[in-house]
Symmetry: C2
Subunit: 204 residues, 2 copies
Amino acid sequence: MSTPARKPSRIQTENRQRIRDAALGLFATHGFRGTTLDQIADACGMHKPNLIYYYDSKEAIHIDLLNTLMEEWLSPLDAMNPDGEPLEEILDYIRRKMEMSRLYPRESRLFANEIVQGAPRMLPHLESTLKPLFDKQCGIIAKWMKDGKIAEMHPAHLIFSIWAVTQHYADFEAQIAVLLPGDDKRARGADQFVEMMFRKVLTP
Amino acid sequence: MSTPARKPSRIQTENRQRIRDAALGLFATHGFRGTTLDQIADACGMHKPNLIYYYDSKEAIHIDLLNTLMEEWLSPLDAMNPDGEPLEEILDYIRRKMEMSRLYPRESRLFANEIVQGAPRMLPHLESTLKPLFDKQCGIIAKWMKDGKIAEMHPAHLIFSIWAVTQHYADFEAQIAVLLPGDDKRARGADQFVEMMFRKVLTP
DNA sequence: TCGTAACTTTACCAAATGGTAAAAATCTTG
DNA sequence: CAAGATTTTTACCATTTGGTAAAGTTACGA
């Protein structure tokens, strides 16, 4: 961004990655304002001005994270195949979302933080990238319903409920850990429950 | 807290309420660290030192809000009647949660912020207050299932999914507003969908 | 291996922020 | 109404924080 389009060196690629990794965890749990450059620097073993050497500002780090996040986060939705078996396609999507919740809770919380706070940095991105994809997938699901392959319901609210339930396991982990202290089987129990639930809802 | 247990004057009650109201909105959307005393003071037409006159610190305001929130937030869960008609009891609970999501989105977001960030100020409260209530209600639901009144499933995950879906409408409002711009029928559509969904899941 | 570009570190700064001191204003009550 | 208590305002302060300047160090291609 500051250097006019020269290809990044090995060190540059490496260090930017280190910064992103440290910042992701901190932004996810303390929010943007709740995270300081010093904390990020500490977490990745660098000095504060060094961060600014790689990113123009604290906000630039945040934006970079959100942009990267958006692509990875939406790819499972895009993977839904209109020509597949409807129920299995949706259940596969749900399984992937549960897996992401388990493997990438930081990303989930970063996203949650951004949206809860009114999406100050992501609204345009939501309009331009998420909205079209969302509408497309709603269309696919609507067609499946009209063909009688799955039960009829409002496709948008169906997707909302999938997001809500799957991301809840990452975003509200602190609460769940208190209420369901049985550490081991928690993830499996969640997977089984969620699959059962949506199978029941979607079966015509 | 600072004054040793004298009964609060009219002005004191009034102004504390004004402060809480302003702080609720700000903490809910910007988080604790993202909100400044000046912002709160501005929002309730007072001066910064005046806030400190009524609350010992910024954190004291936050804690007061969380404590108040906890009671109001959990009351619907406690209202579930073990001797009522199981399906209707749970659906009533869900309806109340949806209503709260619509009427008190700030409270929902304040709570979400706190939990997403690892519940730094609420963990003890969750253990001591929420956990026992949660366990009790899980017990009631488990009994209903054993009696064949509703479908069998993991009661805890059922409650999680109810929380996830209902609170999603308040917490992710910014995203929903982008994806479902039809303003008017949104709330009604959500209510209908959620009721249909859980009715289907719970029917044996 | 030498020179230059890329990178790191130290020392710093201005603004923002949580909070204090104390004077000024207002309210309450005998 | 007068006196004391309560509430509000003004002026400050120490720390934190995002960011800069510039000197020092390292990597790397010719």
